[in-house]
């Protein structure tokens, strides 16, 4: 049986050349990464990039076509069952039993990991309290709201205190308070030393929680680094956002002609964004706008974010990715 090491330097999960082919579709293409013990590892990519397929291979729901998977140094590629006691899995869709109550669902999941009756009932009660679901503990899962269902699925994933937790889009499609509660819970798990493998399309979520982030596009790992290093790579780009008043027409064309070293984007009727590789000289820009009877009420320097890194690396606008996800598109 594989055991965790309790050493922050230890590699908890290691994937080498991980590949998955479905007939003529190469879903995951020679992916290499490692996740250190106690780390929150972000796995980001657009829909259909191969995030869920990668999780399925790591957890034992899919067989890799090629490559190796190691947990705490032990090769489990041929038998992921050996490592399943170490992991909790929160899939992107609910996989609990609609006909059981919240409490029964948690107790049932605990029993799958060999927990005895008293132990699983205590743990279930504690988690129901933690997620503010105690009042709904006796209600059937089928009648839970979307946010409540999500929280219970996460509670089921951690019912056996796993040292490694896989989370596939944990906050997608739920209300803001529930999402905040889940993020807080993840931060708590992180501080307790749980290794977390997180896929999300909420960049700010990854930015807040993850130490290292990998971007996957079309099954290929295109970038993997710490948050600071990822952002540093695009720090030579300068972004300024102008808030305007009295602007009735789209000035991006004239601005582009006058200031050819930058690119202009109209974010809304009153907000304009400029990107350039050079430091921005504000005075000529402001003068240009004032000459056209447009007041600049605010100019803000936008620091590069993970979102910018994502857009730069994948070429995919986040809004498009989010709307696709909200329409119900599912990752592979």
């Amino acid at each position: 049986m594989i055991t965790k090491m309790n050493d922050p330097g230890t590699v908890a999960i290691e994937a080498c050349g991980l590949t998955k082919r479905f007939a003529d579709v190469l879903a995951v293409d020679r992916v290499d990464f490692d996740v250190r013990e106690g780390e929150v590892f972000g796995f980001l990519g657009p829909n259909g990039a191969g995030k869920t397929t990668t999780i399925n291979m790591l957890t034992g729901l899919a067989r890799p076509t090629a490559g190796t998977i190691r947990y705490f140094g032990r090769d489990v590629t041929q038998n992921r069952k050996k490592a399943q006691h170490l992991m909790g899995v929160v899939p992107d869709e609910s996989n609990l039993y609609p006909e059981l109550t919240g409490h029964e669902n948690l107790c049932f999941c605990a029993s799958l990991y060999g927990m005895r009756k008293r132990e699983r009932e205590d743990r279930a009660r504690r988690l129901l309290d933690l997620f503010d679901l105690a009042d709904a503990a006796g209600r059937k899962f089928a009648v839970y709201s979307k946010g409540m269902k999500r929280k219970l699925v996460i509670a089921a994933g951690i019912i056996h205190n796993p040292p490694i937790l896989f989370l596939d889009e944990p906050t997608t499609g739920i209300d803001v308070p529930s999402a905040r509660q889940i993020r807080q819970m993840l931060a708590d798990l992180k501080s307790q030393g749980t290794t977390i493998f997180l896929t999300t399309h909420y960049i700010e979520e990854a930015e807040r929680l993850c130490e290292r982030i990998a971007f996957i596009v079309d099954g290929k790992l295109v970038k993997l680094d710490t948050l600071n290093n990822l952002v540093r790579d695009i720090q030579n780009q300068h972004v300024v956002e102008f808030t305007l008043s009295g602007c009735d027409t789209d000035l991006t064309g004239p601005l582009q002609n006058a200031f050819s070293d930058g690119t202009f984007e109209r974010i809304s009727d009153t907000v304009l964004r400029m990107r350039t590789d050079q430091p921005v000289h504000l005075a000529p820009l402001v003068r240009f706008l004032e000459d056209r009877s447009v007041d600049v009420t605010e100019a803000r320097i936008i620091r590069p974010s993970l979102e910018d890194v994502f857009v730069a690396v994948t070429g995919i606008e986040l809004e498009r990715m989010r709307s696709e996800k909200d329409k119900g598109g599912r990752g592979r």
Binding site: F22, L61, P91, N95, E99, L100, G114, R116
Partner: protein
């Protein structure tokens, strides 16, 4: 890790959620009544309930187990809750035994509903009960594993039902319960020996009416062989189709 805790928990949940619901006992009541009524209407003389008993018992088991298992496993797979079981650190063999134990118990229970009903109208003295119990359990296990084989072969609940009939109805007419195997044409006679229910039905005929055609040891051995083959093929199919 104590796998028996998981095994017992899965079995208990399935019994509560699927099998021990009052309407399900209809498999043990409606079938016996319908078949007995059919023979009563067809027959000019009084119906020999005792001679019909092995047939209705076998039908109750066959239809009850295959229907329930094919539906419950397909339903859970479709609803993704089966993935939760596949992610649990228990061997696939034990997991599938836990999933099928409920159906075996349910099938066995169903088989004795017509026996209880028959006890009110005919004398059941002389029945070799141990042989009946062995036959019922072996029919229940083989039918359950047939249900598992069907459940793994399809992806929709309605497909499970229609695909089940592809196996069940030929089995009913070829197993010797209602038409003696000896009167069947040679090709059908050969086919009847390739289905597990023929051996189970023969054991039941032997236990209830002392009219077995084959030695009980042979029937038990063949049924155990069918059970092992269906279970192993189903496991292989699960590994190939569900852990893709």
């Amino acid at each position: 890790m104590k796998p028996w805790i998981a095994y017992w928990s899965i079995l208990r949940k399935d019994m509560r959620t699927y099998y021990l619901k009052p309407p399900n006992v209809s498999w043990g009541i409606i079938f016996p009544l319908a078949w007995t009524l059919m023979f009563f209407i067809k027959s000019d003389s009084a119906v020999d309930v005792r001679s019909l008993l092995p047939g209705v018992m076998a039908l109750s088991i066959l239809f009850g187990t295959t229907s329930m298992l094919a539906v419950t496993v397909t339903f859970e797979k479709k609803g993704r809750s089966f993935d939760r079981l596949l992610l649990a650190p228990i061997p696939l063999e034990l997991l599938m035994l836990a999933k099928t134990s409920g159906a075996v118990f349910f099938g066995t229970l169903n088989a004795f509903v017509p026996v209880v009903m028959a006890a009110f109208v005919v004398d059941l003295g002389g029945v070799i009960w141990w042989q009946v119990v062995v036959a019922v359990v072996l029919i229940a296990v083989s039918s359950t594993f047939l249900g598992l084989f069907i459940a793994v072969a399809v992806s929709e609940v309605f497909e499970a039902q229609t695909f089940s009939n592809f196996f069940r109805f030929p089995m009913v007419f070829l197993c010797g319960l209602f038409f003696p195997v000896e009167v069947l044409p040679l090709p059908l006679r050969t086919l009847s020996h390739a289905i597990p229910l023929t051996y189970g039905a023969d054991m039941l005929h032997g236990g209830v009416n002392h009219a077995a055609r084959m030695p009980i040891v042979l029937s038990v051995a063949v049924l155990l062989g069918f059970c092992a083959a269906l279970f192993l093929v189903s496991l292989r199919n699960i590994r190939q189709k569900w852990i893709t």
